[in-house]
Symmetry: C2
Subunit: 433 residues, 2 copies
């Protein structure tokens, strides 16, 4: 009814003159065309496969929340939240991420443990650098483990999930950098830094991103007055980074107990990046948020959480760029899954084409036919070639009389008459080989 | 980086006292929990299978549009559009349906033909009757064919798509009612109604929903002064409805040419409905909108369109209700796809459990293990039963020493030692049989 009413309204509007428009999508947003959707869906499918392999359930939350749910969660970034106009009723804002709505969901439903993934768009009134794949409307792709568990066990699985995902996507080399305060504190302790100095030592070590160890050491020993021997021991460890050597060394090191980590993962520090044809910086990130759910619970009941977020927009950009390169090499990205095209060589065979389509649809074969009464054969075959459709099924009066269909392999142009009763099976057999 | 910054901000907030909240989703919206998502994803998968069988591509558009894109498209329903607050910059509104954004997309990209589906949420500030499955945020699930084609051919495919979808979903009986002005006009003409009276005759015939033919006839013959013989002929046809008899009769009738319709579809009139355990009225609808794209084109260039929209929210409601019934009969709807659970009978085997998980994940098996250091065996096995996980893989020191794993079929509780190297294959084999 709703649809009919709408269509009626729309048809009435047809009499008006065309309006003058700036024909565009809102700033920082974009349409995804069929090719982009094909890339996007392949990426998301691979990611979901990994999430499911780890037993994650999925949930969905509304695109907007009561404004007060978001208030106070994002610090100064709150100014980037999209508010809805006050049209009477509740005051609403678009979600800024998937984490706060997830925490609200947990508290509201008194859920104390769950492993869930959620893939959905979030909204930020940022000034986007769209060439870098940053938008005001963009996907987040989150995997989180909520619940009171023994330390580091769910955390390790999050790292593992990120590794499986990045390995399954065709995005080149990447490096996982694990930077856990608990590890760093343990390292400080083992090296002889007093616990009251952990925080200040940590802020120095953080600078290793930009500064050489000598400068960091000077700050720790000088300004921060830490014991030079202890600092040198710290230096031995924090300058190691990124490969299996470190994992082996730490596992073998009697000072550490790293059995919490899934053997084979690299317990280390910093952030993710990719090399390869396109280098894009961070493509995933994550961490713990143990206090967020408690902010929503009237009694402040905590549900510790840890999660990772896959930067799918950047991954889309990498793969779209790759695709554009490959296209120059004339590879074809199909945007449909059509297996066969019903064509006719003669006029007035539309009902016969439709009948054949129906038989094949009933048999689960993906087919289409021209929407023209009397399309030209050449045009029909050309359509198959342009679209990468594997088979053309050519019907003429002779074929109909004999109960066969001319099955044409589009790439080789080889043709063979196939009895109609065997057609669906024959197509399936040929597609498998 | 963004994620890290966010997590940092969140962790700082942990010190604050819990706030007092009305913990709810906005009016007319809901969260989908894991069970609802499982139902939803199964429905959408089946629908997408049909769309793909018919060669549809998919696109995505932003959740909001420039307000002026939506203005003037929905008549008095415009008051139901959600506007975004004016925070500087463009004036935006949330999409009200998928049809107007699709038309904007076609005009903006000068696309003159495409067959596309789109599944996404739309927003209406309606007063929702949520018990009936109506919300302010809800899914639309559209299939549209844009392009200048021979009459009725894409329209017939839309009907066929609706039939395939409703047949593939487990929602009971349904009736497709086709009501095309072109058919009705042809019928009027064949019966001898003068063309200037088509519109008034049509408005009488429309009343057959609520009134018996005698009343409609009286109005046509009396108030509208139509020829009684012609009206009686019309009556012969419009009182037929809903089954194959009519299609056969019309196909055989020399007065009509219905070869445009896919043989076997029912060319008739009105709207869709379902019977069965839950009766819910219309579950799909559609029609032509030939003038909408032209409203966005600066030269008023038209792209004729026809499409259908599947009422997935109602379908979700039907299936959720069914599920609730079946649950009483203790059927289990799984919300994860976990195939095996790695359990241990002894203490201190966490690293071994993790190692086994890793081997199986590498082999593509869906496994999980407890996040506790030393979970109790009974608790682990109970978890498998509650969750419908087919296999438990029990590890003890004896099994590790022998290089085997105890494979336990959770439902029968039968156990067998399997060499570790064959484990993934064995699980896969047993799942297939």
């Amino acid at each position: 009814q709703e649809v009919n009413k709408l269509l009626e309204l729309k048809s009435q509007l047809g009499d008006e003159a065309p309006q003058k428009f700036t024909l565009k999508t809102p700033k920082g947003t974009r349409d995804y065309g069929p090719q982009q959707m094909a890339v996007r869906n392949r990426v998301l499918e691979k990611i979901i496969t990994v999430f499911k392999r780890h037993g994650a359930e999925t949930i969905d939350t509304p695109v907007f929340e009561l404004k007060e749910v978001l208030t106070g969660k994002y610090g100064e970034d709150s100014k980037l939240i999209y508010d809805l106009a006050d049209q009477g009723g509740e005051i609403l804002s678009l979600r800024y991420d998937l984490t706060v709505p997830f925490a609200r969901y947990l508290a509201m439903n008194k859920i104390s443990n769950v492993k869930r993934y959620q893939i959905a768009k979030v909204y930020r009134r940022d000034n986007p650098a769209m060439t870098k794949g940053r938008y005001r409307e963009f996907y987040q792709c989150d995997f989180d483990i909520a619940g009171q568990y023994d330390p580091m066990i769910p955390d390790a699985e999050c790292v593992r999930v990120a590794v499986e995902i990045l390995s399954s996507l065709d995005i080149g080399n990447f490096m996982v950098k694990v930077n856990h305060r608990r590890l760093l504190d343990g390292l400080f302790e083992a090296c002889g830094i007093p616990s009251q100095s952990f925080r200040t030592a940590c802020s120095s070590v953080d600078k290793l991103d930009k500064s050489p160890w000598e400068e960091v050491r000077a700050e720790m020993v000088g300004e921060k007055q830490l014991n030079p021997d202890a600092v040198d021991k710290v230096g031995e460890y924090v300058r190691l980074h990124g490969d299996a050597e470190l994992a082996d060394k730490l596992i073998a090191d009697p000072k550490f107990d790293v059995t919490y980590l899934f053997p084979g993962e690299t317990p280390n520090h910093v952030e993710n990046s990719t090399d390869g044809p396109v280098s894009v910086g961070s493509v995933a990130g994550g961490g713990r948020y143990d206090n967020l759910v408690g902010m929503f619970d009237s009694k402040g009941k905590q549900v510790p959480c840890v999660g990772i977020s896959i930067g799918v927009e950047r991954i889309f950009s990498i793969l779209e760029a790759k695709l554009a390169n490959e296209k120059a090499n004339s590879a074809l990205l199909r945007t449909t899954e059509i297996e066969a095209y019903v064509a006719s060589a003669q006029k007035n065979l539309l009902p016969e084409r439709m009948k054949l389509c129906r038989e094949l649809w009933d048999a689960g074969v993906k087919v289409e036919t021209s929407y023209k009464q009397n399309p030209k054969l050449l045009a029909q075959l050309q359509y198959c070639e342009e679209r990468g459709i594997p088979f053309a099924l050519v019907l003429g009066e002779a074929e109909i009389a004999q109960g066969v269909v001319k099955l044409r392999e589009v790439s080789s142009r080889k043709e063979e008459d196939i009895p109609r009763a065997n057609l669906a099976e024959e197509i399936r057999k040929r597609l498998q080989s």
